[in-house]
């Protein structure tokens, strides 16, 4: 196949991909656009209900615990750690993809393993936070936290929190599973045989997307 990129090459004239990408990567991009609409709809719903409400709980008062620190008031420290872990796992994913370009099997395996570890760490943090909130009496349909103005809050604070962070956690979980499958293939040498590590790039796209979504979820639930 002619891959020499010249100024005169007619990208859209058929016979090859106009973006110089495989159909798999193209599908991943379109899937991510679609998934962005799923999360977008959920977050906009959250915004709508929140703006309809006269008052809303203060995240600094809700998310102030840290494992092993008892009742020390540490607002948003734990979620910052979670966010840091997830962002770091994106960094290791970038390194895995880069190693894939270099056709360095060992390095791909190493960085992919770190990414998986980061994903699992993030999910564990989320599990702890959920358990902690559940013990405090929060769940779908139950909200023990008062509004910032001291009035009793509707349950929609917790409803949206658990639904959207849960939906995101589900995405992280499937990302970890995908990464594990790809890691197994890397170790088996499947991609060495195939001559390229494009699958690593594709799960990489997904992983970065999930990370990006978290930035929005984090902003909407913890900062605003």
């Amino acid at each position: 196949m002619d891959t020499a990129v010249t100024a005169k090459k007619k990208w859209w004239s058929g016979g090859h991909s106009p973006f110089n990408v495989s159909y798999g990567k193209l599908m991943m991009w379109y899937f991510l656009m679609s998934d962005a609409f799923t999360f977008g709809a959920l977050l906009i719903s959250y915004g709508t209900i929140r703006f309809m409400s006269t008052s809303w709980p203060d995240p600094n008062e809700v998310f102030h615990s840290f494992p092993g620190m008892g009742h020390t008031h540490l607002p948003l420290v734990f979620v910052s750690l979670m966010t840091f872990i997830l962002i770091m796992s994106s960094v290791t994913m970038v390194l895995a993809v880069h190693a894939g370009h270099m056709r360095d099997r060992k390095a791909v395996a190493k960085w992919l393993s770190w990414t998986i570890l980061g994903g699992i760490a993030f999910l564990s943090c989320q599990a702890w936070e959920w358990t902690h909130l559940h013990e405090a009496g929060a769940w779908w349909g139950r909200n023990p936290f008062l509004n910032v103005d001291g009035t009793i809050a509707s349950t929609n604070f917790t409803n949206f929190f658990f639904t959207i962070t849960g939906f995101h956690g589900l995405h992280v979980t499937s990302g970890v599973v995908l990464n594990i499958v790809i890691l197994a293939n890397v170790l088996k040498g499947t991609y060495e045989e195939r001559g390229h590590y494009e699958m690593v790039e594709k799960v990489g796209l997904y992983w970065h997307f999930v990370d990006l979504v978290w930035v929005f979820v984090f902003t909407c639930f913890y900062l605003l």
Binding site: M1, Y30, S34, R142, N159
Partner: protein, 608 residues
């Protein structure tokens, strides 16, 4: 480096694929067993047939439901003992119960909108025509394509199951508005039937996503050499836009359904606030039922274009072929479809003018809604100009294509009325709305589908449908559709509300007793005509007149360069190369010039 390697290996894979399957039809018959050839087939043509036949079965069920509830509307005082034999206690004494009536109406809408006119229409023809018309061996991912059908099949199984549960299927309307759909105690149709409905629809969204991603990447990535975007038939453009609409709007519906499921089972209040059920106050507080309507219609409106765009594309193609003239205004056609796609996302709130939507906001939605009349009118004028002074061949496909233009105009004009929020206040939820969307979206999309089936049947099965039955089918359907829906405009303008079980108890609607009676009789006749088509369809698969030439309609597009019964891989040997656009009809003294014919020196001088 890696990117080049990837693309290269993809090329190799497709090349090998061609070798495996491209040789000879006979060879193909020996490959694989019944299961891999007909059931879990990876061949886009077989998957197209699966979508089509499943769609036909659903269409019979959905249309039969409308016959049942039209019996109630047309003959409110009569009893039909046979109804009790098929519906049991849902039609005690031969009269449909109110609960059964609402269930039938709801399922009629759900089945026709999603299972027939979305999956059955775009599923069939996107699968059949995209690889054949862009010049590809198969879809980008045949496996995902197969999964798309089976996700649809699973959705069908779940929906079908919901018809047989004790409390009956969902019956809160095809839009499933909360709180009715969110509270199991609100009605008998809000119980397990509603859950099955939501699960089925979630599977349906998965099917749409898998299919849509495939359609998009096949069209972008796998066009044969020379097939620039502007050399693609309008069918392909329409499938492309349809897929983009589906991929971007169905996820929003899914989000809406996720929240609805939580409201139903997890005690949340996303859509619920300040409610009483059976005299008891509910604790739900802080939610908004209108939120669901926003999420629903953000899909719901693009959905009508998901239904009508493929029909538009096929009609454009069929009109040009059978007028022996180039399509008029090719780029205007593409541009207007693009405009429709953009506007489709910006008009959803015109379904919600009477929800208490801020009138100031409503004004923008009126403006954007009325703007859709511009691209729609461009398309209509282009269709008319295409057949103007053409050398028309009135094949059944052509008749249905012309019928499509007729119903699209008649139904589209009433859209201009309804798009005005002030008129909508009077007409909302009346039979006027029923008449509008059935003509512009239901009947038109069906005409597009029928046109497509009649036109591409030779490619699907290597045989023709029976022409005599086809002509009878066309005339009964066209006349019948107008007789059914035209009078409903008058009923609606007189204020007759939709979704009511029995109008005879209202003094103001008694004047319509005979009219309702008349409509119901026509419905039965038209339904019988559709059964005739179904008979024709299945009979002709085995006994139809055989196609003897590879290009029976003398068309220019690539699907007619394949063998009469193409095997998996479509072309024997190399995929043809494309040199010209698909609408070179009656040009330079030739009746038609296929896309595979290189430009003549004269043409090149003209600067093509």
């Amino acid at each position: 480096m890696s990117n080049e390697a990837t693309l290269h290996s993809q090329e190799v894979i497709h090349g090998a694929h061609a070798h495996d399957h491209g040789h000879d039809d006979h060879e193909h018959h020996h490959e694989g067993g019944f299961i891999s050839k007909y059931v879990f087939s990876l061949d886009h043509k077989t998957i197209a047939k699966q979508f089509l036949i499943t769609g036909i079965i659903w269409a019979i069920i959905g249309a039969f439901f409308s016959v049942l509830f039209r019996l109630q509307l047309g003959f409110p005082d009569a009893t039909f003992p046979w109804l009790e034999s098929i519906l049991g206690h849902w039609a005690k004494g031969g009269r449909i119960t109110p609960e059964a009536y609402y269930a039938l109406v709801t399922m009629h809408g759900t089945i026709l909108v999603f299972f027939v006119l979305t999956a059955g229409l775009s599923g069939t023809f996107s699968n059949l025509l995209i690889p054949l018309q862009v010049g590809a061996r198969d879809m980008a991912s045949p496996l995902m394509n197969c999964m798309s059908y089976w996700a649809f099949f699973l959705a069908s199984v779940v929906m079908m199951t919901s018809l047989f549960v004790q409390t009956g299927p969902a019956s809160g309307g095809w839009t499933a508005y909360p709180p009715l759909s969110a509270l199991g105690d609100a009605s008998i149709g809000s119980k397990i039937g509603m859950d099955l409905w939501l699960i089925s629809m979630a599977l349906f969204v998965v099917s749409q996503l898998l299919g849509g991603l495939n359609y998009i990447s096949t069209i972008l990535n796998m066009r044969t050499k020379g097939m620039t975007m502007t050399k693609m038939p309008l069918t392909i453009w329409s499938f492309f836009f349809t897929a983009i609409l589906g991929v971007l709007s169905f996820p929003v519906l899914l989000s809406g359904f996720i929240l609805l499921l939580f409201d139903r089972h997890a005690g949340t209040s996303f859509y619920l606030s300040d409610l009483f059920v059976a005299g008891k106050a509910l604790s739900n507080e802080g939610g908004s039922a209108i939120l669901y309507q926003h999420l629903f219609w953000f899909l719901g409106h693009p959905e009508v274009y998901i239904i009508i765009l493929p029909a538009m594309g096929m009609v454009s193609e069929i009109l040009a072929v059978n007028s022996r003239k180039p399509i008029f205004g090719y780029l205007a056609m593409v541009g207007s479809m693009f405009a429709i796609v953009i506007l489709a996302f910006l008009v959803w709130a015109h379904h919600m003018f009477v929800t208490g939507l801020n009138p100031f906001l409503g004004a923008f939605f009126v403006l954007l809604t009325l703007l859709i009349a511009v691209p729609s009118a461009i398309k209509v004028f282009n269709w008319i100009t295409t057949i103007w002074k053409g050398n028309l061949r009135f094949t059944p496909g052509m008749l249905f294509a012309i019928g499509f233009v007729s119903t699209f105009i008649s139904g589209g004009l009433t859209g201009i009325w309804l798009g005005n929020s002030s008129i909508d206040i009077h007409l909302h939820d009346t039979y006027f709305v029923i008449a509008h969307f059935h003509i512009v979206m239901g009947v038109s999309a069906f005409f597009g589908t029928f046109a497509g089936v009649y036109h591409w049947y030779p490619k699907l099965f290597g045989r023709y449908l029976n022409n005599t039955i086809a002509y009878i089918h066309f005339w009964i359907t066209l006349i019948g559709a107008y007789l059914i829906f035209w009078p409903m405009h008058y009923e609606g303008m007189a204020g007759m509300p939709r979704r009511y079980y029995d109008y005879s108890s209202w003094e103001s609607f008694k004047q319509f007793t005979d009219l309702n009676h008349f409509i119901s009789v026509v419905v039965i006749v038209v339904f019988a005509a559709q059964l005739m088509f179904v008979f024709n369809f299945f009979y002709s698969i085995f006994k139809g007149r055989k196609v003897t030439s590879t290009n029976p309609w003398s068309a220019t597009t690539l699907e007619w360069t394949t063998p009469i019964n193409p095997g998996h891989g479509n072309w024997i040997g190399e995929i043809p190369e494309v040199y010209r656009w698909p609408y070179d009809y009656s040009k330079n003294g030739k009746d038609f010039i296929p896309q595979t014919v290189p430009l003549s020196p004269d043409e090149e001088k003209e600067g093509h």
